[in-house]
Symmetry: C2
Subunit: 313 residues, 2 copies
Amino acid sequence: MIPVKNDIETACKQVWAFAHRTPVLQSTLLNDLAGCEVFFKCENLQKMGAFKMRGALNAIGNLSDAHKKAGVVTHSSGNFGQAVALAAKNLGVTAYIVMPKNAPEVKKNAVKAYDGIITECESTLAARESTSQRIKEETGATFLHPSNDIDVILGNATSGVELLQDHPDLDVLMTPVGGGGLVAGTALAAHYFGKDCKVIGGEPFNADDAYRSLQSGKIETNETTDTIADGLRTHLGDKNFPIIKELVSEIIRVEEQEIIDALQLIWERMKIVIEPSCAVPFAALLREKDRFKNKKVGIILSGGNIDVKNLPF
Amino acid sequence: MIPVKNDIETACKQVWAFAHRTPVLQSTLLNDLAGCEVFFKCENLQKMGAFKMRGALNAIGNLSDAHKKAGVVTHSSGNFGQAVALAAKNLGVTAYIVMPKNAPEVKKNAVKAYDGIITECESTLAARESTSQRIKEETGATFLHPSNDIDVILGNATSGVELLQDHPDLDVLMTPVGGGGLVAGTALAAHYFGKDCKVIGGEPFNADDAYRSLQSGKIETNETTDTIADGLRTHLGDKNFPIIKELVSEIIRVEEQEIIDALQLIWERMKIVIEPSCAVPFAALLREKDRFKNKKVGIILSGGNIDVKNLPF
């Protein structure tokens, strides 16, 4: 069941009421290096610093009034917790964010700054899930999944829609692949708003579950996730995998050093702050640049939430 | 002799043919912190990473065909050398860039990448000036000054013009003050395109020549320039000082730690790479924030050329 074009248009209305229309940047030097024309869609410059704001806005915006009143709950140690807190604040909804006790203070403070109600738990997935479940039962709040939720995927699609509105003739759209919510949304955007625009994901060799899932035809998981791209350690879900299987052309895998090199290049040449996961599709493009020669390639730069005092280069 | 409005409009045509129209970014968190609405005009995202591209484009574009054929020469260890090389390349003009022998390789490589012809010299001002003079005599090239040149000032004005086109009701425009070319250009933009829009400069206490110049009414110099804001160590010139005296309301001075704090805030919250000089006006705003309460303040973020492997925070 692939969502229809109208679903995305509805999501655009929800998201555009509150999100930034992020700029699209280009660099002559990076074009020369890549041998093609690259259009960077800067979701690192989105509110709260990541595309996740879009999915959160759409998912919360689509709730019934009664569900909005009861609030939303998610568990997250990263960007999605901040996104849900800020999106909920914009929409006048209470957000319960379950975070591991050992989450960095800076992330807890960001959620608090957006008026999110934090419940701390042990740092296991089981503890996070059971705590979320308890809050859901106690408050009636709706649980939001960061990537395996159709409304989140549709919200994510709005970034690709904007990029294709600005540059309708892109040959390729690239995103990182973590939980699959961004690549699935972008694939929907390309399918309905592109002109024969392929979607290609980038993934670390060290967490290549999505690459293997496309090979095997079923959702694969990672035995180990030893990658600097900390946003890409999760695996696909039953809501986004059917979309990815149908609409994503392929996934290119990259080495850790290629991620770090691409990260540094984008910082130095584009003058923007991005997080390691965000550099993965550009690393994938550079790795296989012969195949993209003279093409027009859009890259969704997914986010910029990184500790600037602790850089990998 | 203050330039007229038409001079700026002519500069806009020259500059807009080649420069990026840089995005204007906002951050709710930084607005809350500053107690006013701040519009950041991102010249760090300009071609070659600084506003200096604008002045170079206008100065070279305004040369006669004969002068264009003979080329341009400047001496620079920083952004202006890169700007002249790239602007000249865009306009099909030869650029001779005099650089101190001990300039960082990365800066020399940037000039070379833009096809600039580098002549190395000793790292004294006298050596830089005499080398430039010799090239001028040998080649007939026109010497370009980075800040004390009316065409450069008019080119710089185009950033403020764009910001005021996007946000016509700004109460204040702020820039850093180094050689005076940016603040003078911005003051012209506010004078002709703003609605009662004040221009305020930011300057380090440790290189406060412009502050003292406005006090005394004549161009003052710095005895020492011990500031992290390495782009702001120079003093005003006879072309820009009359404009600054007439059109700049005041200059606010800031401490070194305030510059570093503002730098880190912009990196972390705005997700963009800026250089220390560029953080000075936001530091000035935060230092005196009570005076800007509920105002609309535009800040020209001047540039992003910093060694990302050697950060001050």
